[in-house]
């Protein structure tokens, strides 16, 4: 890959994306991430592994996911045409399953019978519980106590699938605290346990491995768009929390000239309010958390600050290291959508297209809705509809003052 005069090939052998990434972990876990890196690199180039992964994606997940032209919404906005990559149609209802399948196949080959995961909105927890059931593994999911409240249907789904859901009461009781607790479990049970990490962040090799598994999104889109419209889109857009659905769409487009790449962070009550989850857009400094060096929301003393987003899946103070690098390189732009804008986009997609999107994906959609009217009708925006919104019924109803 060439970017200007530089070749784009990240991470380097030590897991760094330029100044970002790395393996900032306690000593007990270093051999475990080292083993994971070795095993992943071995199986990544193994045709049997790739064939099994492709088989599962096709027959279990239901890939390829279609791309849908949101024609009524586009017509209403009167500008660029909006196309949706329908990750919401995957088995379990989000892109998270792509990565969970990949890591479960790796766990199986490494002989690990127990898998653990952290989850925010619950989609990664559901995906992990699903693959654990599929492959006959014990599954423990750590989830912030506050998130358990706002995502009750997903908690029940995980339990139906046979997983144990452990509420995390420490800290801000959200995704970052669930990560802390999963890491504590891993330190304690390192030999028997595979940590199925949900986003393209964490210690090396997770940012690389999760990206590779999610790249099926962008790789499919690169084939599907020319079939649909005879060319690649002008702009690809995805929401960014940790950033796994986004990097899965973006990465295959990094080397495609002329395709603009936009990541949408959770603006919460607005970046100026300080109540948001937008480290890339909100002027956060670089710091170290959960095994990697990234842009990180923190106070002057380096303590991690509490974030806010209407969407539990984006409510995280950090972001994957590759997004940090893409921002610095200027290859991707990062913007925000507020809670209010995401909710309006949620409503629009329901009413104009008969699709109920996840609140996370609604952030990406909100930005598309914002810029489409400023562009010509011949322009094309490809939005990653990373998940469906069934899990958000309680949150949306509450905001509308309705008791279900």
């Amino acid at each position: 890959m060439r970017l200007g005069t530089l070749t784009y090939s990240y991470p380097d052998n030590s897991g760094h994306f330029g100044p970002y990434g790395g393996i900032y972990m306690a000593e007990t876990l270093i051999p475990a991430v080292e083993e994971l890196r070795r095993e992943y690199l071995r199986f990544r180039d193994d045709p049997d592994f790739q064939a099994e992964f492709a088989y599962e994606l096709q027959h279990y997940v239901g890939r390829p996911s279609p791309i849908y032209h949101a024609a009524r919404l586009s017509e209403h906005l009167g500008g660029a045409q909006i196309y949706l990559k329908r990750e919401d149609l995957n088995h379990t209802g989000a892109h998270k399953i792509n990565n969970a399948i990949g890591q479960a196949l790796l766990a199986k080959r490494m002989g690990k019978k127990r898998v653990i995961a952290e989850t925010g909105a619950g989609m990664h927890g559901v995906a992990t519980a699903t693959v654990a059931a599929r492959f006959g593994m014990e599954c423990i999911v750590y989830m912030g106590a506050d998130d358990i409240q706002r995502q009750a249907p997903n908690v029940f789904r995980m339990k139906l699938l046979g997983a144990t859901v452990v509420p995390v009461e420490s800290g801000s009781r959200t995704l970052k605290d669930a990560c802390n607790e999963a890491i504590r479990d891993w330190v304690t049970n390192v030999e028997s346990t595979f940590y199925i990490f949900g986003t393209a962040a964490g210690p090396h090799p997770y940012p690389m491995m999760v990206r590779d598994f999610q790249c099926v999104i962008g790789n499919e889109a690169k084939v599907q768009m020319p079939e649909l419209i005879g060319r690649q889109p002008d702009t690809v857009i995805a929401c960014v929390g940790g950033g796994s659905n986004a990097i899965g769409l973006f990465h295959p487009y990094i080397e495609v000239d002329g395709v603009r790449i936009i990541g949408v962070e959770a603006g919460g009550h607005g970046v100026a309010s300080g109540r948001h989850a937008a480290p890339l857009t909100g002027g956060a400094k670089v710091g170290v958390l959960h095994g990697n060096k990234v842009y990180l929301m923190q106070d002057a003393d380096g303590q991690i600050i509490e974030t806010h987003s209407i969407s539990a899946g984006l409510d995280y103070p950090g972001v994957g290291p590759e997004h940090c690098l893409l921002k610095d390189l200027g290859r991707a732009e990062y913007v925000v959508a507020t809670d209010e804008e995401a909710l309006a986009a949620f409503d629009s997609l329901c009413r104009f297209e008969g699709i109920i999107p996840a609140l996370e994906s609604s952030h990406a959609l909100a930005h598309a809705i914002k810029i489409a009217p400023t562009m010509g009708r011949d322009k094309v925006l490809l939005v990653n509809l990373s998940g469906r919104g069934d899990k958000d019924m309680n949150t949306v109803a509450r905001l509308k003052g309705i008791t279900l």
Partner: protein, 269 residues
């Protein structure tokens, strides 16, 4: 010469083992930390590990997590911890102080200003739990420039090649985490420590401290038979948690003195 080396040299001459208690700075309150440090010394501590609280203490169990939360609620910060060490040094010029915590508060301050300030206030060593040797090159350079010892952790999962790598970088002493798990967890497997020790000694020519799972004089004495230093953290923090503002300094001193006495019985025996 660094105070850590002086301390261990003296102990070796006396055939005694080092006692290294841990407390979190700012717990239970800002005004108790320096009195607690002096009480630890009075009770027979040889080195003090002073915890720098962090919002996300991933390697710590519930006891030290709560201590961190209390300290942060009290307004403790990295700069505040350094000021406490300066205050401690006004009356104690000899007991080594090692700061222990996570890397991000130091990253936020900057390694060079941090190392400079450490030297200024009399910090002797720094242990950042989530900065393995692979990511410590920059930190190491700044600490070395100011003669601050980088203290590294080794774990039961650490293999020979990594032990060798740590041996090349470490100064002061090396801290062997005696079990797989977070601080304050479970029981102590003495046989496993005994098995690992020869492998560690082959490469590490610094004193080796052992921590995690040490709860009283008995376990401390058993560990001391195998190691050069005994580290006790969660059990002391528990003592702090179960005390009132009026009793905390006395209770901690009494508990640590009990452990010291048990360790010294070992020498006399």
């Amino acid at each position: 010469m660094n105070r850590i080396q002086t301390t261990f040299d003296n102990l070796k001459q006396q055939d005694r083992k080092a006692l290294i208690p841990f407390i979190t700075a700012g717990d239970p309150s800002l005004d108790k930390t320096v009195p607690l440090m002096h009480a630890l010394v009075a009770a027979g501590a040889d080195v003090i590990e002073l915890g720098v609280p962090f919002s996300d203490p991933m390697a710590d169990g519930p006891t030290i997590q709560r201590a961190s939360e209390r300290a942060l609620k009290n307004g403790m910060s990295l700069r505040g911890v350094l000021a406490m060490v300066a205050e401690f040094r006004q009356t104690d010029g000899t007991t080594p102080v090692v700061l222990m915590g996570y890397g991000n508060p130091i990253e936020a301050m900057g390694w060079e200003p941090f190392a400079e300030r450490c030297a200024e206030v009399g910090v002797d060593g720094v242990l950042t739990v989530d900065f393995p040797p692979e990511e410590s090159a920059e930190a190491f350079e700044h600490l070395q420039r100011h003669d601050i010892a980088p203290i590294f952790l080794l774990a039961p999962t650490t293999d020979e090649a990594r032990i060798e790598r740590v041996a090349r970088l470490a100064r002061g002493y090396v801290y062997y985490v005696s079990l797989k798990g977070v601080t304050g967890a479970g029981h102590l497997d003495l046989a496993a420590i005994a098995d690992k020790m020869p492998q560690l000694r082959r490469h590490i020519h610094l004193p080796i401290g052992v921590g995690f799972g040490i709860r009283d004089g008995d376990t401390a004495r058993q560990v001391a038979d195998l190691a050069d230093a005994v580290v006790i953290g969660s059990r002391i923090v528990q003592e702090i948690e179960n005390s009132t503002a009026g009793t905390v300094v006395d209770n901690v001193q009494q508990f640590v003195a009990g452990v010291r006495a048990a360790l010294d019985r070992r020498t006399q025996a």
